[in-house]
Amino acid sequence: MMAQKKVLMKGNEVIAEAAIRAGCRNYFGYPITPQTEVMHYMAKKMVQIGGNFVQAESEVAAINMVYGAAAAGFRVMTSSSSPGISLKQEGISYIAGAELPAVAVNIVRAGPGLGGIQPSQGDYFQATKGGGHGDYRNIVIAPASVQELYELTVEAFNLADKYRMLCMILGDGTLGQMMEPVAFRDEEPIVEPEKPWAACGRGGRAEHNTVTSIYIQPDDLERKNQELVDKYKIIERDEVRYEAIGIEDAEIVIVAFSTCSRICRNVIRQAAEKGIKVGMIRPITLWPFPKNVIRETAALPNVKAFLDIELSAGQMVEDVQLAVRGQKPVHFYGRMGGNLPMQKEILDKIIAIHENPEKEALD
């Protein structure tokens, strides 16, 4: 596959372009900063290519339109930012129950409540632990660059179809608003299975298809629950993605995703200048979480401590602690409210941990 010439594009626009390239012809959304450029792009392009664009009357309407299009067998996407994604949670739970493939994008802003409009990672819990009611998971992907927004959005559609579930792209205001060069492929690696379950007319079959999330009998529902659990186990085995940088000889290992991992890359270089070897594990899938690599890294004799960096009060760090299993001290540093950590703040934390890996570690 030949890569085309690089073009400078905004993260939000690249998400929309990637969806269209992945064969998505149905987009339903409701505007909210800092993701509205996804909608702008879709509004302009869907008309030109004969797709469907609806600015719904609310987020709740938009996610139920997603349910409908997915149930009919079409590739479909919605996007929003934190308060809007909260409103969509009921529909997301129904999508999980009905086992429908769909892509949802959350360009996270700071909360709780209306909060602010600046970048945050405070929706990690909501995204990775289900978010709505009931026992379910979503695949959650956290790109760290505009190029990754492109490639992983295309991949999100493939994964959604492969496992018949919702795949979420979790970004933040920085990633959505920034411009970087992106090289599009001439042809996308689209893998779209047949959808014999889709409710799109009988097509000569004797029985019509039914798409539903209601199972009134406990035994029926438990059977469905178990099917979901079995599916999630396969995903945890097969779909974990992460990037590991310099962990073979690192004294301190940073765990950070998306925008935070970008800032940490600079800090790793600065720490090396001070003679401190810092590595990084960057989860690309937040669920399934790359717990095995973290557990194995914690067992390395060179590793003295972990440092989790987030734009939150500390959410992913709980998964990091579970994965480390008490083998090494785990530290946390986060900024909230829409602020990003300065590189110097992280470097100071690293220097302090280097002097005493146990001091101020989490319980």
Binding site: L8, T33, G173, M178, E180, P181, R262, M342, Q343
Partner: protein, 179 residues
């Protein structure tokens, strides 16, 4: 060149974000890695606007600039807000036809230039930021004049190509202030 960092700041409507984008396009034309990150939100409407541009030979870490090599300011509050971000030896360029304030830092290079006057002499106020990019280009070599011109031809629709010679004149006049 690793992580050459630029902050452009001023009032919303002065073309700050576009100027940053054009700097990124010029560097991209040279095959460099680039990133552009804007301030966004309500501050754009008549308030302050700023953006960070990073140019590098290597993949860029943070697109958010804490340590700038060049600071381009089109109003006084921006100087006060961002002066401390400059690396020692960094360059502060201000549009002295709009305001004048001496920087408090003594370890930086200060270039006051009459950017808006250059622009009004050429009959297009949008050229003010272009002249400041010209100054930055000449003072630092972060991208070449020829790359800037080629990038303009590449990204602007053909009906707007007639404005490019004027842009380049502003660019060249700005470059003279780097001497």
């Amino acid at each position: 060149m690793i992580d050459f960092s630029i902050i452009l700041a001023g009032f919303g409507g002065q073309g700050i974000l576009s100027a940053g984008k054009m700097a990124a396009e010029a560097a991209l034309y040279e095959g460099k890695e680039v990133s552009w990150f804007p301030s966004y939100g309500p501050e754009m409407r008549g308030g302050t606007a700023n953006c960070s541009v990073v140019i590098s030979d290597e993949p860029i870490g943070s697109p958010v600039v804490n340590n700038a090599d060049v600071l381009i300011c089109l109003n006084q509050p921006s100087v006060e807000k961002f002066e401390s971000y400059l690396n020692p030896g960094g360059i502060l360029i201000i549009d002295s036809s709009l305001f004048y304030v001496e920087p408090t830092r003594k370890d930086i290079k200060f270039i006051p230039m009459e950017a808006s006057k250059i622009a009004s002499d050429l009959g297009n106020m949008a050229f003010a930021t272009i002249s400041m990019l010209g100054c930055m280009s000449a003072a630092t070599g972060c991208f070449k004049k020829e790359s800037f011109e080629s990038a303009l031809y590449e990204i602007l629709p053909e009906r707007r190509h007639k404005f490019i010679p004027g842009n380049m004149e502003a660019f060249s006049k700005g470059a003279e202030f780097a001497k």
